[in-house]
């Protein structure tokens, strides 16, 4: 059965033409690493799961910075919807500044739209200063702000002069780009141009690293930091889960950037390489093999004997500590199948962990990824720019002569590119076996068809799909919010993940959905049929 053909057969000509290149059925004999269409406009009227530029900028990258007052400049909705809904956990540092529980908005009204909203934004900043005296204020704009032409960047510059704070504005109007992805890029640009590199306080540890693209959903970042610290790394900053403007201002003092979510943060990694010479390494802290592999690569990078030894010790200890639990849940999950539709990294990251539980992935897709997330970074030069991607600024970054440092010899750098995949990401498709499906920007209709025809035991997606799938009899777990559980990262997270899947599959209610009188009626109908045949 070809699900792709089923789906495309239901579409009108224009939708067919668009969607056919976003859906792949893997056939290695035909193509080892086939091309997929990605990061293109969603079709009006099609129930896409995608969000907007603001959601990517404020909701994903900027919002988790806990020591900043992040003001949404716009009508109330956007600020409200991104208030406490993503589970990017944060604890206050010693200074007690944690604004994560708060929602700040200029709550623009009609006169602000007609006469301009910059006055209100200025007043809002003044009020924030009076009440909270923050060291930084971040401003995120919403759709109408760009249309009416409020100059939020000069308001931010004024605020810096007047109050002596860091104030950065992000022009992340919802209509920019084609998904959240444009917003990630805009956020990356702002952090790079205005915050990273502004504080030269040297790291205290011997092996200083930054953790990029880790948003501490359900406490993931804390579990990863726990492991890194056990081995002896100094985590200078995290982008941006439980992160702070204070910490990322020092990010350039770290030796290496670890990139967890490639899609949302690879721009910072690249720009820091240009400006400060910081190398980056793609890591994955989901699933035992991936974690251990990432840790070994990391130790290889620094090349210190003590690190390599300690790494093996920690891997052995952590793995042994969870072995019984893993085996217990594996026994219950063995042979199940899963579909994954998440943002721009998790659909790849979780396949390894699932396979460690004996669960095979039959469908994987990204909501807002680019072709490189599917096909690997080597195709980046081949990606055609279109009108929408051109609208997202490519920040011009210069080498910072004063702060530029090279850690590896050119020879070692080349060697590590080959051995540990330094500064590379191979994408998801290569890891997908024959017969599986890869779908970009999976929509409501396609989700239903895949669920009906592939019948995965577990469908990982988001809140908008969850009950669509559950109503149809498929266990659905949110892989954005972890259904209010977690962490799923790291060794301990792997066990929590396994427990949650077993919990979901074993819910007694699944077995009671068909009422006994219906089952009886079906039985007697079947018996009646047998009798009449006899």
């Amino acid at each position: 059965m070809d699900v792709k053909a089923e789906i495309l057969g239901s579409y009108n000509a224009k939708v067919f033409k668009n969607r056919k290149d976003h859906i792949l059925r893997i056939n290695k004999a035909e193509a080892e690493n086939p091309e997929i269409a990605a990061n293109t406009r969603a079709i009006p009227g099609i129930m896409t799961n995608r969000g907007c530029c603001y959601a990517g900028c404020k909701g994903v990258v900027v919002g988790p910075l806990k020591d900043a007052v992040t003001i949404t400049h716009g009508p109330i909705g956007c600020g409200f919807y991104s208030w406490g809904t993503r589970r990017n956990k944060a604890r206050p540092d010693e200074d007690g500044r944690n604004f994560i529980q708060y929602c700040f908005s200029t709550d623009m009204q009609e006169p602000d739209i007609v006469f301009g909203g910059d006055k209100k934004l200025r007043a809002a900043i003044r009020e924030a200063m009076e009440i909270f005296k923050p060291r930084s204020i971040l401003i995120c704009s919403t759709c109408p702000v760009g249309l009416i032409g409020d100059d939020i960047h000069s308001v931010a510059a004024e605020a810096e002069r007047e109050y002596g704070i860091t104030c950065v504005a992000f022009s992340c109007e919802g209509y920019k780009g084609v998904s959240q992805s444009g917003g990630h890029h805009i956020a990356n640009n702002g952090l790079m141009k205005r915050i990273i590199g502004s504080n030269d306080l040297a790291p205290t540890g011997k092996y200083p690293v930054n953790l990029l693209g880790e948003y501490n959903i359900g406490g993931d970042g804390w579990e990863v930091e726990r492991i890194l610290r056990r081995i002896g790394y100094d985590v200078v900053s995290v982008f941006t889960g439980d992160g702070s403007v204070q910490a990322i201002s020092r990010a350039h003092t770290a030796t290496l950037n670890l990139v967890q979510c490639h899609r949302s943060i690879n721009y910072v990694a690249e720009m820091m390489k240009t400006a400060y010479g910081t190398d980056w390494l793609k890591v994955n802290f989901i699933g035992l093999k991936s974690i251990s592999g990432s840790l070994r690569n990391l130790a290889q990078y620094f090349g210190a004997e003590e690190l390599m030894e300690r790494t093996e010790e920690v891997i052995a200890g952590e793995t042994a500590a969870i072995a019984d639990d893993m085996a217990f849940f594996r026994e219950k999950l063995q042979g199940k199948t899963a579909a994954l539709f998440v943002g721009g990294s998790r659909s790849h990251h979780y396949q390894e962990l699932l396979s460690e539980y004996g669960v095979s992935t039959v469908l994987a897709g990204y909501e807002f990824a680019h072709r490189d997330d599917y096909e690997g970074r080597e195709i980046i030069p081949a990606i055609r720019e279109d009108a929408d991607s051109k609208n997202i600024e490519q920040a011009e970054i210069m080498k910072d002569e004063k702060r530029y440092r090279v850690f590896l010899s050119p020879q070692r750098y080349e060697e590590l590119k080959n051995t540990i995949g330094l500064e590379d990401y191979k994408g998801m498709i290569r890891d997908m076996p024959d017969g599986t499906y890869v779908v970009d920007d999976l929509n409501h209709f396609e989700t239903g068809v895949f669920a009906d025809l592939l019948k995965p035991d577990i469908f990982f997606s988001g809140i908008k799909d969850k009950y669509v799938l559950q109503k149809g009899g498929t266990l659905s777990r949110q892989l954005h919010s972890y259904d209010y559980s977690g962490p799923y990262a790291g060794y301990k997270g792997a066990v929590v993940f396994g427990r949650d899947l077993v919990m979901g599959l074993q819910a007694p209610a699944w077995g009671m959905v068909s009422p006994p009188w219906k089952i009886n009626a079906e039985k007697s109908a079947a018996e009646g049929q047998r009798d009449s045949h006899a």
């Binding site: 009227g45 909705g77 700040f104 009609e110 007043a123 908008k464």
Partner: protein, 454 residues
């Protein structure tokens, strides 16, 4: 929790902190989900509808469908007409609804897309309908968005020459499916033939069957909405959510209306019951009177635990008005009553209720936010919070019990099935409030003071 909120209150005119409202489009979307085989459609960038569907799903724990015009920068400059035409074609092709209910956003309103004209010039398949409402996010709140979508449907569809057989039109405010089921039961008991619009029951509380129905059995049918125009009378429940659409119905089809408060608590429910009985020409049935009596019995039984307890009520204006009325009837003392939705009518209404019960010194505010409520509480605490999930932060910070009621409730299950309207809803609510207050009393009691019998 909320450690940075100072006790000292400084004047604030520009910075909204911890809002107690959201934007119009999500209210419009929810209203449209109360129409059978309807696809709500957001004319804006796709982030809006992603947020709205998420919020509604998190509150109802049900799928919330809606499509988007998916504006890009180009559409924002040149207008979204082409996007809407493409969207409507695709929606009818792929999702096959009977009606598409388009609402605008701050984006499409700012660029000035004229939806009436775009829809008028559009090709709509035979037997299908496209309606719209203007819901700029920089005006009102989700509650006015709900009202505007009701008005939009009525403008497009209600017909004076339709046949409703003398039924009453019932326009319910922003309520849960459980409330709507209770309302319908109550009206049936009174014997009033009625047409209810919108009606999210059956849609936003669909049963688990192992089959996903994109358009579950529920909602007001297009015929029902047409028939509103020939109803003998309209009962509009909730001033903020329903007065405007009732007015539009009156102007368009000359259906006289009666705007009633949401029937929360004894007196507001009495008002509805009497209005319904009068419209139906019936006597209030004994069964309902007994129900009322049982609620009163509970109120008297538990009176010592309610009496003079200070309560903060916050949320949507019509809901808060109803809840305030009920806590007054229980003998509690509202200390703070607020809504994020702007409108002087709110404060006037609440002040009148307080006066009727002789309660003084209560702070009442429309267009307020939860940061301000928290500051008030820091200066003068209360015994109970009554409102939405976002109050849980204050509840934790100040160690004050919270009873959840209203929209949104994002952190509990089952609430959308349980009514707060009618005598039965009152009973459920009173039981919850008493439980919260008595749990607190038990928790705080010294061992020697812990009573097994209370």
């Amino acid at each position: 929790m909320l450690d940075l909120t100072p006790k000292e209150i400084s004047p604030r005119n520009a910075l909204r902190i911890n809002p107690c409202k959201t934007c119009q489009p999500v209210g419009a979307l929810y209203a449209a989900l109360g129409v059978r085989r309807c696809m709500p459609h957001s004319h804006g960038s796709q982030g809006c509808v992603s947020y709205h569907r998420s919020l509604l799903t998190r509150h109802f724990k049900e799928p919330a469908i809606a499509a988007s015009s998916s504006f890009t920068e180009g559409a924002s400059v040149f207008g979204g007409g082409a996007n809407l035409r493409t969207a409507v074609k695709n929606i009818f092709d792929i999702y096959d609804p009977d009606v598409i209910a388009v609402h605008t956003t701050c984006l499409s309103e700012t660029i000035g897309d004229d939806l009436s004209t775009i829809i008028l010039d559009m090709q709509v398949p035979e037997g299908k309908v496209v309606v719209h409402a203007n819901t700029p996010s920089y005006v009102g709140s989700h509650v006015t968005g709900y009202a505007n979508m009701l008005a939009g449907f009525i403008r497009y569809l209600a017909r004076g020459e339709s046949s409703s057989g003398g039924a009453a039109a019932v326009l319910p405010g922003f309520l849960n499916p459980g409330d709507l089921r209770e309302l319908k039961r109550l009206l049936k008991l009174v014997g009033l033939p009625f047409v209810m619009f919108p009606d999210q029951s059956g849609v936003m509380d669909a049963p688990m069957t192992n089959t996903y129905e994109m358009y579950p059995q529920g909602g007001a049918a297009i015929e029902d909405i047409r028939a509103l125009g020939s109803c003998a009378k309209a009962l509009a429940l909730g001033f903020f959510a329903c007065a405007e659409p009732a007015d539009v119905l009156e102007k368009k089809c000359k259906v006289p209306n009666l705007v009633l408060p949401l029937p929360i608590g004894i007196m507001a429910t009495d008002e509805l019951v009497m209005a319904a009985a009068e419209a139906a020409g019936t006597q209030v049935p004994a069964e309902l009177e007994e129900e009322r009596g049982r609620l009163l019995d509970l109120m008297l039984d538990a009176n010592p635990y309610f009496y003079d307890k200070k309560v903060a009520v916050y949320g949507d204006p019509d809901t808060v008005a109803g809840l305030t009325g009920f806590v007054l009837e229980l003998g509690m003392r509202p200390a703070y009553v607020l809504t994020g939705t702007p409108g002087e009518a709110f404060t006037r209404g609440i002040d009148a209720q307080l006066e009727r019960f002789g309660v003084k010194g209560c702070k009442v505010k429309a267009g307020a936010d939860l940061f301000e409520l928290h500051q008030w509480i820091k200066n003068e605490p209360v015994d109970l919070l009554l409102g939405t999930s976002y109050g849980k932060q204050i509840s934790k910070a100040e160690d004050i019990p919270l009873v959840r009621a209203g929209f949104p409730i994002l952190d509990r299950y089952g609430h959308s099935y349980m009514p707060i309207v009618g005598y039965r809803g009152g009973m459920l609510l009173a039981e919850k409030i008493a439980g919260a207050l008595m749990d607190r009393q038990d928790r705080d009691a010294a061992d020697e003071d812990l009573d097994v019998v209370m």
